[in-house]
Symmetry: C2
Amino acid sequence: MNFLEERIAKDGILKEGNVLKVDSFLNHQMDIHLFDEMGKEWKKRFEGKNINKILTIEASGIGIAAVAAMHFDVPVVFAKKAKSINLEGDMYVAEVESFTHKTKNQVIVAQKFLTEDDHVLIIDDFLANGCALQGLIQIVQQAGATVEGIGIAIEKGFQQGGQIIRNLGYQLESLAIVDGMDVETGELTFREQ
Amino acid sequence: MNFLEERIAKDGILKEGNVLKVDSFLNHQMDIHLFDEMGKEWKKRFEGKNINKILTIEASGIGIAAVAAMHFDVPVVFAKKAKSINLEGDMYVAEVESFTHKTKNQVIVAQKFLTEDDHVLIIDDFLANGCALQGLIQIVQQAGATVEGIGIAIEKGFQQGGQIIRNLGYQLESLAIVDGMDVETGELTFREQ
């Protein structure tokens, strides 16, 4: 197990409905040392890629992306989520439908912060069905910018998001891929990487 | 002018209604080098304080707090905002009313991440009327924890938030205090510190 898998095994909490709670270190309380390790690992995995900007989405992607950005020495843009349009200025807007909740959400980035010259690393905390991620990719494409790679902390390997993204040809680096979770025993199965 | 005041003077955009837009470096696109400088400066200003946790609020406080936390070597907890209660587990909830919009919002933190043993530095990007900040202080008090200090990037000195907080006896360190802004000339007046 790598450092993140170990931490998930130690502090993650399984709940009914394939819920994996990691709010003690990832998305409510944030372990900044862990984020630093994650940034270092992504820097290694995306070695040689020409990355000049990190794109993430509010709220729980922001802390991870900000600390990772120290390793890439680039600025971070965080996309905003909204239920309806109420925007000033020129914005890229991606409409994404939640697979689970069937609700429509918008992912929004100001046009001035993403241009065709940008080579973007997308960072987020979770990848399950990949809704938010698809919105972020759509926005990079609207801008004419290039997705150089995608860094995810925890991928739920038993949901479809990761497979879709890999099928589309993107370099997706999930630091932990959970292929199975047993609420009864509390056991997690991580994919060999 | 210090490094943050210089950056605001250079890249901040003034708009009607005392709006100061700093989304190119602070709260949409994030300049991580600048955040690192801010963290270093707060570390200096809160020298000698026994701080074991940083508390901030989604979304735009998170990146600043995460990078600042590298200097304090402590975890960050970010409070969530909500319009209505829909929570599982034990939460601290502070209800705050917006001075400007007259809307009520809730500021929420899971109880397990804030206890009476915690010595908290509160970090946020903006302080104007201080609504969100009052909610965060209320939550620290609910937990029986101690507010060791408050670090703000930009304070609007012509609004009441900062004065209230200082009157209450808190050590409030705003890295830039804007005392006046002239939309016609684009001129900003910073308070001498």
